[in-house]
Symmetry: C2
Subunit: 280 residues, 2 copies
Amino acid sequence: MAGFLEKLERACRTNQSLLCVGLDPVPERMPVPGIYEFNRQIIDATHDLVCAYKPNLAFYEAQGLEGLRALEKTLAAIPSHIPVIGDAKRGDIGPTAVAYAKAMYEVWGFDAATVNPYLGRDAVEPFLAYRDRGVFLVCRTSNPGAREFQDLISSPPFGGDPRPLYEWVALKAMTWNEAGNVGLVAGATYPDELTALRELCPDMPFLIPGLGAQGGDLERSVRNGADGRGLGAVLNVSRQVLYASADPGKFAAAARAVAQDIRGQMVQVLREMEAPWLSS
Amino acid sequence: MAGFLEKLERACRTNQSLLCVGLDPVPERMPVPGIYEFNRQIIDATHDLVCAYKPNLAFYEAQGLEGLRALEKTLAAIPSHIPVIGDAKRGDIGPTAVAYAKAMYEVWGFDAATVNPYLGRDAVEPFLAYRDRGVFLVCRTSNPGAREFQDLISSPPFGGDPRPLYEWVALKAMTWNEAGNVGLVAGATYPDELTALRELCPDMPFLIPGLGAQGGDLERSVRNGADGRGLGAVLNVSRQVLYASADPGKFAAAARAVAQDIRGQMVQVLREMEAPWLSS
């Protein structure tokens, strides 16, 4: 994963963390007004505890141009050594995919982006072409509806072993990974599927949402999601950190305390796994 | 499809057209500078020939906040009786899907939106909840990579008839269509798949991209894509209309001429099909 993967692993080592904080501002839940002000305080309080930040563009788009201006300012407030994953799950074809990749990597300047694989390789290629950026393909999501299509037992029309659709996505992702910049999105709420994906793709970085508010189990996510070195797993938590307290004067400290606690639990599991990159 | 479908069919009848013009501005190809100025001239020249406009958000996002401001102005320049389909192919879960639906229908105010089905029903539900707006589920796309996942022969884990994945999407779409506001995206470049989908979903509106620059056949798209009344097919053309001429003084007239010609061909086919809604 070239540039992005290097940056990610450096941040993991520096901050001794696999925790990614999802910057998903919801005005009704924010203890202070102003998306930028809220994000800035969260970033100030957590930037030495995370390996990445992950703004989901939906929350900014829902606030119109003002929300997108707040995203612009937020990105400028993230220390440059922390990678930023733009979670937008884009997916379109031809010149449209080229425009989306440009928006994510050049306009917003994200280090990595999430991409929906349903439209096939040519829809993903414009993202892959940014060889120093990461491309996390949405593979097995953390929601109940994930079962509906992603688990269909599927085989190519010309024959082949039947497998769940999400495993086909993972297998294709490996063949698309010429620049080493491809990863998978695999939800923490389905630990068995996470294990299956880690077996199929031993070296690929996984973006793992679904911890915290969604109920995914932290220990199993680290054990099933990390690669052989105890790296390659970006474990995202959003609401549990962002909305740790509704008190305008204390929410940032509360967010920090929660992030610290989650990181501590991760390190604990990684120690049991004897991950060689942890400081003693 | 409640409010949206009514509006769409009224525009089809008023303008005697199934043509949708995709407003996909690419600065390098535009004969005049300024996305808004370009779009405005295209709209002025074609608004009495179309049943809908379809801006694809990628092209605006690729130009940053300025591009999105141009989208805002563009939407205000479209006559209010012409429905506007926001082509963004969003797909995410829980509160994120709620935020995307809000962005598409409330912030931008689109009459309909395209949505990626890969994440399952709960990812689509927040869109469906806007009962007076349209939800076009990406089903069988017009690109070569469409075959990769959409054509996998799939069956539910607990058993069931194997079918291509895109047919499962169509079947699910029918069960999700409680408010009558669901449609499908089905590419013009695969006429057999279009026919299969029309057989599965006889009454559902189809958004059909892939004509023009992508090479889809117009006559077959009308015949295979329209419903029993000769309606329910929104046939999108983008580049062929937008970039009909590179001459700054003539491109709008050229766009009009191309749109008129395409509409004429559509009407010709519809007459042969004896579509009852055509004026004599």
